[in-house]
């Protein structure tokens, strides 16, 4: 078993990797070791967009390319390495945007149906947020019912996807300077679907063959994700299921229970998971479980679905992306219920070695070898019951080969940007002022978003080294997705972690507010919450007048999905310096890579960087933060200002 330690730094995962080996089960970890990544695809130098190819035009290995070689490095149509890498890159953005936005669309459809009373079991939970949205969308409030308001909102929201002209409504939430910049560069998205379609068109054979122009459309598409589809999903989910507020829970495979029916909900969209969380509490279900010999029903989440029901209900998390197969290896999981995104086909194979049932529930995502029980939002309660019953029915089939790792960690989650606003001042003084103030006075050096996936090409959960390095240097870390789970498992998401891991300044602020130094903000779709938090910081003042002025940085150290590239691009285009790890998909073109790593900063104030070492990457982020602090003039300690009456007269009225 040499090399097992390098596969993960999570002890629970290591135990299950060992168990899988002894059970002779093939995992993603093993396949990654057996299957080297295609070196030409990895650098973005393979074009398979037409049947004159695929054309493979890799850089020469181990030496500088000569000008002559560069001239000859073209596809059959004459496409340069720049065009090919840019097309591949933009297609990743388009796919990522499509994934988030199709999620957003589904949520919007359910929202509209709920407003119209067609989905019993769902409701308008967060009235305040509903009214906020009404104001954002210009929907009349008056003395209309929530349902009437929601119907209008739903229709406008749905229209955002298919809109052909104008610009997305949520762009107006961004700082004014940023909106103007987008308009000036022509990257303000018109409609969500339109940008994805146009990205696919322009990357088709023989269309857009200027990498900078391609990247403009890539940006416009990415913005249609972050300030479009993703934001829509988050906002409408909050209205229907409640805006997250701080909640205690637990994480890691240790949350599975020996004597209960273990059901894992895995995937991304919360509609099913929300209903499962409710139905699992139903005494009828508990009774049914008892009748099959189980003590109860234990619901646990995985991947971003887990984050959704963690944030809103405190449902424990079994693990992140690379633990999906490992959960089944425990032998204690009756059912793994999945919907869309990040669901490995390997699950079906692993499940064959145990009694676990893989249940697909979404017509858009079926897996050979899995059973399909379709989830119908219009009949949500009954659908959820059917799924849970099927899981309970499988309990008697649990075998003897059961090993649940003991590891589980406590965490506090539920930090929506609205909640952070409340936590910093209470009901009466809610604002981002204390955050800005403590950034200005240097207790907090800056803020970093560490997001993204797991990737078996690097040590699982190694990203927590980056997070530790950041908080040690007084950088407050905001997290979403599978990245958040890595930190939570390591105990970074409890308030006590501030004293143990964070620098003195950050720790003092965390201690004053009672928050962990690493804040869990939700699923990967909820990166829009980070955009809103950054905007709130700009609007509160004292840190410049655009997101690009803020001492902030972003990272996805273990990224693997196309969604991550879309997210990264919308962060860069929103003005954030963003570092990715693992591998970089455009290294086949030095010009394009330089454009992304340097020139974008001149356009957007944010740019990409690539650094696989998590500590070094953290240092890149910190030096960017310091650069921004210097530009803001907050790199030095300031004198305390004492106010006399004349200074009070100068104050603007509030």
């Amino acid at each position: 078993m040499a090399g097992v330690e390098k596969k993960s730094i999570d002890p629970a995962s290591l135990k299950m990797i060992e168990k899988a080996a002894s059970d002779e089960v093939s995992l993603a970890f093993d396949r990654a070791a057996a299957l080297k990544p295609c070196p030409i695809g990895a650098e973005g130098s393979c074009c398979s967009n037409c049947s004159m190819g695929p054309c493979r035009i890799p850089l020469p290995r181990g030496r500088e390319e000569t000008p002559e070689e560069k001239r000859r490095r073209r596809g059959v149509c004459g496409a340069t390495a720049e065009t090919i890498a840019a097309r591949n890159f933009v297609r990743m953005i388009a796919a990522g945007t499509a994934a988030h936005s199709d999620h957003g669309r589904k949520v919007t459809e359910v929202f509209l149906a709920t407003a119209r009373g067609k989905t019993p079991g769902y409701e308008i939970k967060d009235e305040q947020k509903l009214l906020q949205l009404a104001m954002d969308f210009g929907v009349e409030i008056g003395d209309r019912s929530n349902e009437a308001i929601a119907t209008d909102i739903g229709q406008i929201a749905l229209n955002e996807f298919g809109k052909q002209e104008g610009e997305l409504l949520f762009l107006r939430r961004a700082p004014l300077k940023r909106q103007e910049l987008w308009r000036r560069l022509g990257v303000a998205p018109r409609g969500i679907d339109r940008e994805v379609v146009e990205a696919m068109h322009r990357t088709h054979m023989g269309v857009d063959q200027d990498y900078q122009n391609l990247l403009l459309q890539g940006t416009r598409t990415a913005l249609a994700d972050g300030w479009g589809g993703s934001m829509m999903a988050t906002e409408l989910q909050d209205v229907m299921f409640g805006t997250p507020a701080p909640v205690f829970s637990q994480i890691n495979l240790g949350v599975l229970k020996e004597d209960e029916v273990n059901i894992i909900i895995h995937g991304h969209e919360p509609q099913l998971a929300e209903m499962m969380a409710v139905v699992a509490q139903d005494p009828e279900m508990a009774q049914y479980a008892k009748s099959k010999g189980a003590e109860g029903i234990n619901l646990a989440g995985m991947c971003c679905t887990a984050n959704e029901i963690l944030m809103r209900h405190g449902v424990p998390i079994a693990g992140n992306f690379l633990q999906q197969e490992l959960a089944i290896v425990t032998g204690a999981v009756e059912a793994m219920v999945v919907d869309v995104q990040c669901i490995m086909q390997g699950l079906a194979d692993v499940a064959q070695c145990y009694h676990t049932k893989i249940m697909t529930t979404d017509p858009r995502a079926k897996i050979q070898g899995a059973s399909h029980i379709e989830f119908d939002e219009h009949n949500a309660v009954e659908s959820a019951k059917a799924i849970i019953k099927a899981a309970i029915d499988n309990f008697p089939n649990r075998g003897k080969n059961v090993q649940i790792p003991k590891e589980k960690s406590d965490l506090i989650a539920g930090f929506s940007h609205e909640t952070i606003n409340y936590l910093l001042g209470g009901i009466f003084r809610a604002s981002y002022r204390p955050l800005n103030d403590n950034i200005i006075n240097g207790r907090i050096r800056g803020v970093a978003g560490v997001v993204g996936c797991n990737n078996p090409r690097v040590t699982h959960d190694m990203q927590l080294e980056m997070v530790k390095e950041l908080i040690k240097n007084d950088v407050l870390v905001l997290q979403t997705g599978c990245a958040a789970m890595a930190s939570a498992k390591a105990g970074l998401m409890v308030p006590e972690a501030a004293t143990e891991y964070a620098g003195h300044g950050l720790a003092s602020v965390c201690e004053a507010v009672g928050i962990p130094p690493v804040l869990h903000m939700g699923a990967c779709i909820d990166n829009s919450r980070i955009l809103m938090a950054a905007t709130a910081m700009v609007k509160d003042g004292g840190l410049g007048d655009d997101i690009s002025d803020l001492p902030v940085a972003g990272a996805a150290p273990e990224w693997m999905s196309e969604k991550a590239i879309a997210i990264g691009q919308y962060f860069v285009a929103s003005g954030v310096f963003t570092v990715f790890g693992v591998t970089w998909p455009t290294t086949g073109s030095k010009e394009l890579t330089d454009f992304l790593f340097k020139d974008l900063e001149k356009l957007y104030g944010g740019m990409w960087a690539f650094e696989p070492d998590p500590i070094k990457a953290a240092q890149l982020m910190i030096s960017h933060i310091d650069k921004k602090r210097k530009a803001l003039g907050i790199d030095k300690a300031r004198e305390r200002v004492l106010y006399d009456m004349a200074m009070r007269r100068e104050l603007e009225a509030v």
Binding site: I412, Y422, G425, P495, A512, Y643
Partner: protein, 734 residues
């Protein structure tokens, strides 16, 4: 660490809310829901509840929704391990604490109507003053607005000894702060310690003994809330504005002395919402990161000799300290202190002997700067309880000095002398009155020190308009008589000159934006015939103030082209007002109450209001607590029209302005005046009658109704008809 503070604050809030709940239930049982409830003489109900929640509590039954709010604000206790974020819940709990404390104190006013003195001073057997009424608020509030009092210290508990208490109090007074006192520590109370130490407490000395219990802390917060509502014109219920206003403009802090109980923590948490930090003398946990307060939130374990300085630094307050070479403490806080009976060592003027004060200009070579000469007996030459005549002659010289500045400098003498601890001064010119206490004499105070004070302070404050100043103080009768005669002649010339000035013949008016520290959109423009509504600034004062501080709140305003001579509107003034009000107003009229009247800050001496049925105008001064024919008391009126807004039908003005020629001349001037409080009539009778004579109705004052005639339009109309008041036959007002 702040978890301990938050946990304690939340526990304390639970205790206080449940105490309020219990008291309310008992009170409901005893008196029923319709029993009136509230603090005395205020238009702001229970002010924190009204300001933050917008709920008007007028009877016991109104308390129920407030208690429900308290319950919903109360968070669960903080968990020991892995607690959920606690700062925000603790702040919410602190607000619930204040609401509950107001209920408790309001119920106390029902249960024990005489528990508090309900006045500015302690009585012989009761030192507890209770909530400040609106008269106190207006009077004291102005000091907050103009900077004479930059804020307050809320002291909880007691110092280790009465000597330390007195020392802390004096130090706070010297920093011009109000000291609001409540609660006990180990059986001792700060207020009682001060009394034991022989310190004079009460509103006049800024040492305010609110109450014996911690719940009286809410009177301090209620005062701050009302400052925002009245001077800041924040609408009740707009809690965010009330709180940020106080964070930015009221420089207050809490100073718990002694063991900090859960209830004290709850109050401290509540105060943080207002931006008021806590500075403690005990080793409690600290909360240093900033954000809700301007700087640190809780600072602990400060020794008593450093605690005042530390508090001021933490609150971010800059206090300009006067260095005056006298052996007693010196500062505005001592202005209201009285010297009485047994304690008098020396008395001058006040009907017992002659006294006069006179500032006069001299040539440069006639004045030796800093020279103080006492001609006649000094304090050491006379025994205790003596009376002497006195003439204070201040001779100034300088290139910038003008005759017009003499009365301005002269008017300073009153408060400058009064600022000395143990010295009391009343009046001015030839009706001045001085008392020096035995305590001050024991500390070494001499008559010559009066000269030293005048020299030092006038140089500090008015140094730009003169170069040299000397003081001669005569205490022999013949010399005093001689000075009085000279001075009287000068007074007559001065009065005639200022009387002769008109708005038409003056091209430059002066702004006064002193109050923008509290009413940011308010702009006074002072013309010769419309003095400032606060009564403190006439045109001449503004001009001098501008000379002294060219970039200060008094700026020259070239009136420019006249746009409406009837209403009193000028182009130049409008332009200035637009800029100085930060775009909120683009014009207003000097002489009208109906058509876009001038804005009012909150400091007005009087408020005029139209009485449609009488076809006239009434005015009421802020000392008058009773109802008026417009249906509102002064305090309600002030709350409605103050805060830097222009309200047609109402306008703030000074007492002096009533007898000026341009007083509401667009509506017909004093001929329209149909009602004034009796005391105001008496106060301004002399000048009013002169003006009445000028317009040919010498007995006008007799035709003006007052509260003895009635306090409704219906009641006073027959009186006006009987007297044949001219307003009744004037053209209709509306």
């Amino acid at each position: 660490m702040s978890k301990i503070i938050a946990s304690a604050a939340i526990r304390g809030a639970h205790k206080i809310v449940s105490q309020a709940d219990q008291k309310w239930r008992q009170a409901m049982e005893k008196w029923g829901g319709s029993e009136p409830a509230g603090f005395p003489n205020t238009a702001y109900y229970l002010p924190v509840i009204y300001g933050i929640l917008g709920i008007k509590v007028t009877k016991l039954a109104d308390m129920e929704p407030v208690l429900k709010q308290c319950q919903s604000l109360l968070p669960p206790p903080v968990k020991e391990t892995h607690p959920l974020p606690y700062l925000a819940p603790a702040l919410d709990a602190g607000m619930a604490t204040f609401f509950a404390e107001e209920l408790i104190e309001a119920i106390r006013y029902i249960e024990e109507p005489d528990f508090y003195t309900k006045q500015e001073d302690p009585t012989a057997d009761n030192i507890w003053l209770g909530a400040a009424d609106d008269v106190i608020l207006r009077k004291r509030g102005i000091e907050f607005v103009d900077g004479t009092a930059p804020g307050f210290a809320a002291i909880l508990g007691a110092a280790p000894s009465k000597e330390i208490a007195a020392k802390i109090a004096t130090e706070l007074q010297q920093k011009n702060l109000y000291v609001f006192m409540c609660a006990e520590n180990d059986g001792e109370r700060f207020s009682e310690q001060l009394v034991q130490a022989g310190v004079q407490i009460g509103w006049p000395t800024r040492l305010v003994s609110f109450g014996p219990d911690i719940t009286a802390a809410v009177f301090a917060i209620g005062f701050a809330t009302r400052v925002a509502l009245s001077f800041g014109h924040v609408e009740p219920g707009n809690y965010r504005k009330v709180l940020i206003y106080n964070k930015d403009r009221t420089f207050a802090f809490a100073m718990p002395l002694g063991y900090v109980t859960d209830e004290w923590y709850a109050n401290a948490a509540g105060a943080i919402n207002f931006g008021f930090p806590t500075i403690a003398d005990t080793p409690i946990p600290e909360v240093l990161p900033t954000g809700i307060c301007t700087y640190e939130h809780v600072v602990a374990n400060i020794p008593h000799d450093k605690i005042v300085a530390k508090a001021i630094e933490v609150r971010g307050l800059k206090v300009a300290l006067s260095e005056v070479p006298v052996p007693v403490a010196y500062g505005p806080a001592f202005e209201g202190e009285r010297v009485r009976g047994e304690d008098i060592y020396l008395e001058c003027g006040g009907g017992r002997s002659r006294m006069v004060e006179w500032v006069t200009s001299k040539r440069m070579d006639e004045v030796e700067d800093g020279k103080v000469e006492v001609v006649g007996p000094e304090i050491g030459d006379v025994p205790a309880d003596s009376k002497l005549p006195m003439a204070i002659v201040v001779e100034v010289a300088g290139r910038q000095m003008q005759e017009d500045y003499e009365p301005i400098l002269e008017r300073q003498i009153h408060h400058l002398i009064n600022y000395a601890q143990g010295v009391m001064h009343i009046g001015q010119r030839d009706i001045a009155w001085l008392r020096v206490s035995k305590t001050a004499v024991e500390k070494g105070f001499k008559i010559a020190h009066i000269g030293a004070i005048i020299h030092a302070k006038l140089h500090q404050d008015f140094g730009r308009i003169f170069d040299k100043l000397q003081v001669k103080i005569y205490t022999v009768d013949d010399k005093v008589r001689e000075i009085i005669n000279k001075a009287k002649a000068v007074y007559a010339v001065r009065d005639a000159r200022i009387e002769g000035m008109t708005d038409e013949t003056t091209d430059i008016f002066y702004s006064c934006t002193l109050c923008q520290s509290f009413a940011p959109s308010h702009v006074c423009v002072v013309s010769p015939e419309r003095t400032g509504l606060c009564g403190s600034y006439n045109w001449m004062d503004c001009r001098a103030a501008h000379e002294i501080n060219p970039t200060g709140p008094n700026q020259p305003v070239p009136k420019g082209e006249i746009l409406d001579s009837h209403l009193g509107q000028w182009k130049g003034v409008n332009e200035f007002v637009f800029k100085a009000s930060r775009g909120k107003f683009d014009h207003y009229n000097f002489y009208s109450i109906i058509h876009d009247p001038m804005t009012s800050c909150g400091c007005m001496e009087c408020i005029a209001a139209i009485l449609p049925m009488c076809n006239g105008i009434m005015t009421v001064n802020r000392e008058h607590m009773g109802m008026t024919p417009c249906g509102m008391k002064f305090t309600t009126l002030a709350g409605t029209i103050g805060g830097g807004i222009s309200t047609p039908g109402f306008v703030g003005h000074s007492k002096y302005n009533i007898s000026q020629r341009k007083f509401l001349s667009a509506e017909g001037g004093i001929k329209r005046l149909v009602w004034m409080p009796k005391s105001l009539k008496e106060e301004i009778a002399q000048r009013f009658n002169a003006r009445a004579k000028e317009i040919g109705i010498p007995n006008l004052l007799e035709m003006v109704a007052d509260e003895t005639v009635g306090i409704t339009e219906e009641e006073i109309l027959p009186f006006l008809e009987k007297k044949g008041h001219p307003a009744l036959t004037m053209e209709p007002l509306m």
